[in-house]
């Protein structure tokens, strides 16, 4: 029999399905935007279906447009109907969930908005039992953060850490600035209002099951960790490839480029999870400390080294899935002489004991041959060839961790073909998440929102991680600024990137995978 401990809820002791959020009001700034309708509200509804929302719960949308509570609920229902993985909508569950949805209209610059919000939240504490706990979700561009954070502070909507047992947390998404300086400025703005322990920066890649499985795969299996180092690994490739173009987001992309959009955040997070040392626990700071160590170990590139280690590209015309598609410069809102990169490939080095001498080749691009995100660990070749091998010798073993689509793990190895002769052939052992565990797994936002409600920050990026990522990438931007103003090389839509990227890896005697 367990000894009851009244400082904790004794009925939660030993409870297996214990993944419920704390009672709280989730306040979404920018509630009229696509993110709310497509991702946030469907994720919250899915949590309601799974009984993961607490008894005291409310969602408050805040935006500029005039709208009634009912109109907002109706819009949200439409979004949930379209984008939830749990279809069709369960009327009884929706009915209960909907009663907790409300809307506050107001300009983010107007102090009255925050006064109205405060009054409304106080009322919800009484009517919905939200207990003074607030999760502010900033689904707005970073340029609005300063205004909103200031408004919240002035209206006394931000409580000090865990004051009176009630908490305040803030969640926001990338871009976390556009370079190190702007990132630091943004972090200062947030830090002027919130303690870092109250800040939850979402990189939605970290909410994906397969990314979380990286830690399980590495640290719950004794087979791979002993060979996860320079003695056995030849090199690592990380690919984040999309087959779509900029999809009408010309203005955004002209200011961003693939390096800011994908490499500085998702790709570097994947790299740090692959390369990190075992953390002492799964506590948020234990994991994030190890990730930061990897980011700090990245070998900085001098300006002169950038052209040899980083290749840019821009997609031209070509065919994807047999459809002829225009080049980047022909897209709406894109300058005809744009130099913005839609592809980047980099050779990176993690200068530490484990990875010394092992290159990490990373690439990200738009309009590539296929949509795929994967991490491929290529092991060393066998030291001596016993068998009559095909041209090029025996292919090294590759362990590919597929993040999307067809999430899973594949191990390539060499086998003998049946017959009198010893003929070698590559075969693959293939584990797929979808087929082994079913495809109805929680979406990244469900996991991340629930974690934020529970105060579990492991899957959120910390300030020093983000700043360290920018510090590395800033050197690349600096070199590009000083390069001759030639446009990036063009690659055909539907290809795997420019020829120069092939040269980058070929110089090391390796080649890109075609996953």
């Amino acid at each position: 029999m367990t000894t009851p401990n009244p400082s904790k809820n004794p009925l939660r002791s030993g409870l297996i399905e214990d993944r419920t959020g704390d009672a709280c009001a989730v306040v979404i700034f920018g509630a009229s935007g696509d993110l709310t309708r497509r991702k946030l509200m469907p994720a919250l509804y899915n949590l309601a279906v799974g009984r993961a929302l607490p008894g005291g719960f409310a969602v408050v949308g805040v935006a500029r447009r005039e709208k009634s509570h009912d109109a907002f609920r109706s819009e949200m229902k439409d979004g949930v109907g379209q984008f939830s993985r749990r279809k069709p909508i369960d009327p009884a569950v929706w009915g209960d969930f909907e009663r907790g949805i409300s809307y506050v209209r107001g300009s983010f610059e107007d102090p009255q908005t925050y006064a109205d919000l405060k009054g409304h939240l106080d009322q919800l504490d009484v009517e919905r039992g939200t207990r003074g706990n607030r999760l502010f979700y900033l689904a707005v561009p970073p340029s609005e953060f300063d205004t909103i954070a200031g408004g919240l502070r002035e209206a006394k909507l931000v409580r000090a850490k865990e004051a009176d047992g009630a908490w305040t947390r803030v969640v926001f998404e990338k871009p976390f600035g556009e370079d190190l300086a702007s990132c630091r400025a943004l972090n200062e703005t947030i830090a002027s209002v919130f303690d870092e322990s109250q800040v939850y920066r979402i990189d939605h890649y970290l909410g994906k099951e397969t990314v979380q499985n990286l830690l399980v795969f590495r640290f719950a299996n004794s087979l791979f960790e002993p060979i996860w180092n320079r003695q056995h690994v030849d090199h690592v490739q990380i690919t984040v490839a999309e087959d779509i173009g900029i999809e009408g987001r010309g203005k955004f992309y002209e200011q961003t480029g693939v390096t800011r959009d994908v490499v500085q955040n998702h790709l570097m997070q994947l790299l740090s999870l692959v390369a990190m040392e075992p953390p002492i626990s799964l506590a948020a700071d234990a994991v994030r400390d190890e990730k930061v160590k990897v980011l700090r170990s990245l070998r900085p590139m001098e300006r002169s080294q950038v052209p040899m280690n980083v290749i840019r590209g821009q997609y031209g015309r070509g065919f994807v899935r047999a459809e002829e598609l225009p080049g980047y410069r022909e897209e709406p809102d894109v300058a005809p002489d744009s130099k913005v990169e839609t592809y980047v490939a980099m050779r990176m080095h993690v200068d530490n004991w484990r990875w010394s001498g092992v290159p990490f080749f990373v690439r990200a691009g738009k309009r590539m041959a296929r949509r795929v995100t994967e991490i491929a660990v290529q092991f060393n070749k066998v030291p001596h060839t016993l068998f009559r091998a095909p041209d090029g010798g025996i292919t090294p073993n590759v362990l590919a961790l597929r993040i999307q689509p067809d999430e899973g793990i594949q191990l390539r190895f060499t086998s003998k073909e049946p017959g009198q002769q010893t003929i070698l052939r590559d075969v693959a052992m293939d584990f797929r998440y979808g087929t082994s565990f079913g495809s109805n797994t929680p979406e990244a936002y469900e996991r991340l929102l629930l974690d934020a409600m529970r105060g579990e920050a492991t899957l959120f990026t910390r300030r020093d991680e983000v700043e360290q990522q920018w510090q590395y990438i800033d050197r690349v931007f600096d070199a590009w600024k000083h390069e001759a103003s030639a446009p990036p090389p063009t690659y055909a839509s539907g290809s795997w990137g420019p020829d120069q990227a092939d040269d980058l890896i070929a110089r090391d005697g390796r080649r890109w995978r075609k996953p």
């Binding site: 029999m1 367990t2 000894t3 009851p4 009244p6 400082s7 904790k8 809820n9 004794p10 009925l11 939660r12 002791s13 030993g14 409870l15 297996i16 399905e17 214990d18 419920t20 704390d22 009672a23 309601a48 279906v49 799974g50 009984r51 929302l53 607490p54 008894g55 005291g56 719960f57 279809k87 069709p88 369960d90 009327p91 009884a92 569950v93 009915g95 209960d96 009484v126 009517e127 919905r128 039992g129 207990r131 047992g165 067809d406 979808g434 087929t435 082994s436 565990f437 079913g438 495809s439 109805n440």
Partner: protein
């Protein structure tokens, strides 16, 4: 036992096993026709289901087929009929496939029927058919005795043993749990009734989540359990297990005062117990839990939490018109292959249409403290259907000490023959 049993001819059982192995191999040979869709065999565990009648096996086969969609397995459904005069072992092999990402992803389903004396050797037959290196879960539907060699043989091969106190009893569950603890390497024990209770436990725990109500958990003054049955019925296993769970979490001891049950709290206070019934609508399992009410008082503040199942409120979604696609219908095809032919049995439209019914009831959670309005939440009980329940049980961590503690307490209550008024 109704008369002398005829022995099975020597070698007959092993011939059946050899035939099963042959059929399994033949299931996975390349398709005869180039146009046939490719099929992937996936297997993450062995799922052995032991039933005590043909009817129960028939009832459970669709449950197993649905479970293997999310937990691809080699499923072995066994009918065990030891009292049969004839001695026989028969088998049937199928691939159970569902479409995932344009590919048929398939599990294997073996049905074994053992009649008469061969039942003693069914453990050996099942062992021969297990996929090596994969975990084995044994689902035992029916009465269980830990001295039964058939049970011991099969359970010793498993890492997880799933019972259902709806078919057996809390006492049997207790015996099995004791047996499992006697030696290392024996399986972890799970109970489907315990899984059914999980949402009730979670929602009851919410009564005391608020920091200011934590102390209230240690000052419960009364608990009421209502079950769906006729007045005077014995307390069902769900109610008994839930009481056991409350008592072991909160340190209560059972006492009997003037013929009625009460609990003594660690601080010496008394918890009044009310066991009552509500009428059972059609479709609701006998003795199913219907309502829980907890009252606690501390520091002059009274907190009342109630949890009420809206019995038979399970939602039926109107099916779309014939010819239109069905939402999330479990499209399962069963394929057999023997030396002559391959057959596919797509499910009937009627079955698919029934599959769109969500049959879990709503649960209304209500907490009344000292606010002008009580906090209320409505959730759907998620795990009532057989397949979902088994799936959730198999997805839970295998070792659950809380179950053992609660079962021990519940057994003590049931020994007293508690009835609900």
């Amino acid at each position: 036992m109704t008369g002398p049993m005829a022995p099975l001819p020597k070698g007959a059982a092993s011939a059946v096993i050899a035939d099963v192995e042959r059929q399994l191999r033949e299931l996975w040979v390349e398709p005869d026709n180039a146009g046939d869709a490719p099929r992937s065999r996936v297997c993450t565990m062995n799922l052995v289901v032991m039933t005590s009648s043909h009817e129960l096996a028939e009832k459970y086969v669709p449950v197993v087929d649905e479970v293997t969609r999310s937990i691809p397995s080699r499923a072995i459904v066994v009918e065990l009929l030891p009292d049969s005069k004839e001695s026989a072992l028969t088998a049937d092999v199928s691939a159970v496939c569902s479409l995932e990402g344009g590919k048929d992803v398939c599990s294997e389903r073996i049905r074994l029927a053992a009649h008469g004396v061969i039942c003693d050797r069914v453990g050996s037959a099942v062992e021969a058919l297990l996929v090596p290196e994969l975990p084995t879960a044994l689902v035992w539907l029916g009465r269980v005795h830990v001295e039964d060699p058939i049970f011991v043989n099969l359970a010793s091969e498993a890492q997880r043993l799933v019972l259902d106190t709806e078919y057996t009893s809390v006492q049997s569950l207790m015996q099995v749990a004791r047996w499992a603890r006697e030696e290392p390497g024996r399986p972890f024990v799970a109970d489907l009734a315990w899984t059914r209770l999980a949402p009730w436990q979670e929602m009851c725990a919410r009564f005391f989540d608020e920091p200011r109500l934590r102390e209230h958990a240690m000052h419960v003054t009364s608990i009421a359990i209502h079950q769906a049955s006729e007045a005077g019925a014995r307390l069902g296993s769900e109610g008994a297990l839930l009481l056991g769970w409350f008592a072991t979490r909160l340190g209560w001891k059972a006492v009997h005062v003037a013929g009625s049950l009460r609990f003594m709290r660690p601080d010496g206070g008394t918890v009044h117990v009310e066991l009552a019934t509500v009428s059972r609508p059609p479709g609701v399992a006998p003795l199913a839990l219907a309502r829980v009410a907890v009252t606690a008082e501390f520091g002059g503040v009274v907190a009342r939490g109630t949890l009420e199942r809206e019995l038979a409120s399970g939602l039926s979604i109107a099916p779309p018109p014939m010819g239109e696609p069905l939402p999330q219908a479990p499209v399962i095809t069963v394929t057999k292959r023997d030396s002559e032919h391959r057959t596919s049995e797509p499910p009937s439209q009627g079955n698919l249409r029934r599959a769109t019914t969500i049959d879990a009831d709503m649960l209304v959670w209500r907490l009344d403290v000292d606010m002008p309005t009580a906090t209320e939440q409505r959730v759907r009980l998620g795990a009532n259907r057989g397949a979902r329940l088994l799936e959730r049980t198999l997805h839970r961590p295998p070792n659950d000490p809380t179950l053992n503690e609660s079962v021990a307490f519940a057994e003590q209550l049931l020994e007293d023959g508690l009835v609900c008024k």
